[in-house]
């Protein structure tokens, strides 16, 4: 286990240092995957499928807020569908508008979830979203998750409709329209998926909130169990048995990913190095504030581990210590703006007039 802990600390330190560069890079990769998956699933328009376009769109998403990425993805979807049939694109726009106006606008910060659910559905691991949301968000996350599920099934139906009704005459427009709406309203699988995802979010959230050891780990396990059981029951009820193995593998994969995310704790609004500017009457300040606590953490880990002799105690020793450390860290992080203890931040001061501040 030891190398893993050391590895985690290395990653943390690395992330802390290069936060400014890593975030856009990650966003770029995520956006690239998003646009590629969309192109793979409903890539009807060859012009948008071209590499330069995808590259520029991803680059744009990398340096703008995540809401822009969601908007771009929606526009790309609509344009792809528009090139096959304009009536289908109108339907998509209307349904997206309804979803936004009635639901998604209440959770503006979780907009990326609406996008992530359909993408992960294609990659066969949508189950990680509800578990992750239960872990890091509030039950409000049910709203964007549900919207994401609707979008995924809507695109499925559109795909089917587009292959079946390629060239239609004006009289068939109404028929096509009723076909899409019918399949959306009577889609039991979609409704059951939303219910199960909501259950997973609620169960994970409430277990995570409980005050006992390993609450986070147990919450993840409970979420995964709810997921597997829920979809098993739904598969038997709806009589679709060909997807059970994929579903179970996907759930296990999702659980592993969520556990990895939890292990590295990078998602909890983890703040890296802060660079701020301000001024008073005399100086301009360019301050680089480096969070202190994580730098000492690996050493503490190493000491504890080596001090223990027997195998069983030392393993639990690490875990307990690990949790303590995390808690301590979270406290510091949330209060770091306000706490008056000296040295919660190292201030490296480079002032214009005097240079007696500590240069880095």
């Amino acid at each position: 286990m030891m190398p893993v802990f050391v590895f985690r600390e290395r990653i943390r330190v690395l992330y802390q240092k290069y936060d400014i560069y890593i975030m856009p890079a990650l966003k770029f990769i995520f956006a690239f995957i998003v646009f590629q998956v969309i192109n793979g699933a409903i890539g009807y328009d060859a012009r948008i499928r071209r590499f330069p376009i995808v590259f520029i769109l991803s680059l744009l998403s990398a340096f703008t807020p995540s809401a822009i990425m969601v908007l771009l993805a929606a526009v790309v979807c609509v344009l792809h569908v528009y090139s096959v049939s304009n009536i289908l694109s109108v339907i998509i726009i209307l349904i997206m508008l309804i979803l936004y106006l009635l639901f998604a606008r209440f959770t503006p910060r979780l907009g990326f979830v609406v996008l992530a659910v359909p993408i992960l559905f294609v990659l066969k691991i949508p189950y990680m979203i509800p578990i992750l949301m239960g872990l890091i968000a509030t039950p409000m996350a049910i709203i964007p998750t549900g919207c994401g599920v609707v979008i995924y099934y809507l695109l499925q139906i559109i795909k089917e409709a587009a292959t079946n009704h390629v060239n239609i005459n004006p009289e068939e427009v109404v028929q096509l329209y009723t076909y899409v709406i019918d399949s959306l309203i009577t889609n039991k699988q979609m409704i059951i998926t939303i219910v199960i995802f909501s259950l997973i979010i609620l169960i994970t959230f409430f277990i995570r909130k409980m005050k006992f050891d390993y609450a986070f780990e147990i919450a993840i396990a409970a979420g995964a169990l709810t997921c597997i059981l829920g979809f098993l029951i739904s598969d038997f009820v709806l009589d679709i048995s060909n997807q059970i193995i994929i579903m179970i593998l996907g759930s296990i994969g999702s659980t592993v990913i969520v556990y990895a995310v939890h292990f590295f704790k990078l998602t909890l609004d983890y703040s890296g190095v802060e660079i701020v500017q301000f001024e008073d009457d005399v100086y301009y300040y360019y301050v680089k504030a480096v969070p202190k606590i994580t730098v000492t953490a690996p050493q503490m880990n190493v000491k504890r581990f080596n001090a223990q002799k027997s195998d069983s105690t030392h393993r639990s020793g690490i875990r307990r210590h690990d949790i303590d450390m995390d808690e301590e860290y979270e406290d510091v992080e949330t209060d770091s703006y306000y706490d008056d203890r000296k040295g919660s931040h190292n201030n490296n001061i480079i002032s214009r007039d005097e240079d007696d501040g500590i240069d880095e």
């Binding site: 339907i91 209307l94 349904i95 508008l97 309804i98 106006l101 009635l102 606008r105 209440f106 109404v174 329209y177 009723t178 709406i181 802060e274 701020v276 500017q277 301000f278 008073d280 100086y283 300040y285 301050v287 504030a289 770091s336 703006y337 306000y338 000296k342 931040h345 201030n347 001061i349 002032s351 005097e354 007696d356 501040g357």
Partner: protein
């Protein structure tokens, strides 16, 4: 001379202002009632448009039936239904967004209280500094 305590406080304030503070400070410019009322109004308008879009879709869905029965339809009853559902939706959205946004406002006030405390502290340091000069 650089005053390290002052810089520490100013750094914390600046970090807060560039992150969560941005929204909190924007909220602090409203009174609670004004803010909540404004948000409720916005959600009611959004709900109205959403409902209109649903109605539009429903109209197309049933277009064939509606056109063939256009003469014999009981428009008064349909109108009452549409209005009734609309009033229900507006009530639900208005109430829930009223509750939700007032909770949000209170939470941001709590965070701002800490911010103001630090500001006061900073002000005190300034006052201590000035007579020396």
């Amino acid at each position: 001379m650089l005053n390290n305590d002052k810089i520490r406080i100013m750094t914390k304030l600046a970090i807060y202002e560039s992150k969560d503070g941005k929204e909190d400070i924007k909220l602090s410019k409203y009174y609670k009632t004004d803010y909540v009322r404004y948000q409720v109004l916005k959600s009611i308008v959004a709900a109205t448009f959403g409902y209109a879009a649903i109605l539009l879709m429903f109209f197309f869905y049933k277009a064939e039936y509606i056109i063939s029965q256009a003469v014999v339809l009981d428009y008064k009853l349909i109108g009452t239904y549409i209005l009734g559902v609309y009033i229900m939706i507006v009530t639900v959205y208005g109430l829930s967004s009223g509750i939700g946004y007032s909770i949000k406002y209170d939470a941001s006030r709590k965070k701002l209280a800490k911010y103001f405390k630090l500001l006061k502290h900073l002000n005190k340091i300034y006052k201590e500094e000035t007579p020396e000069q």
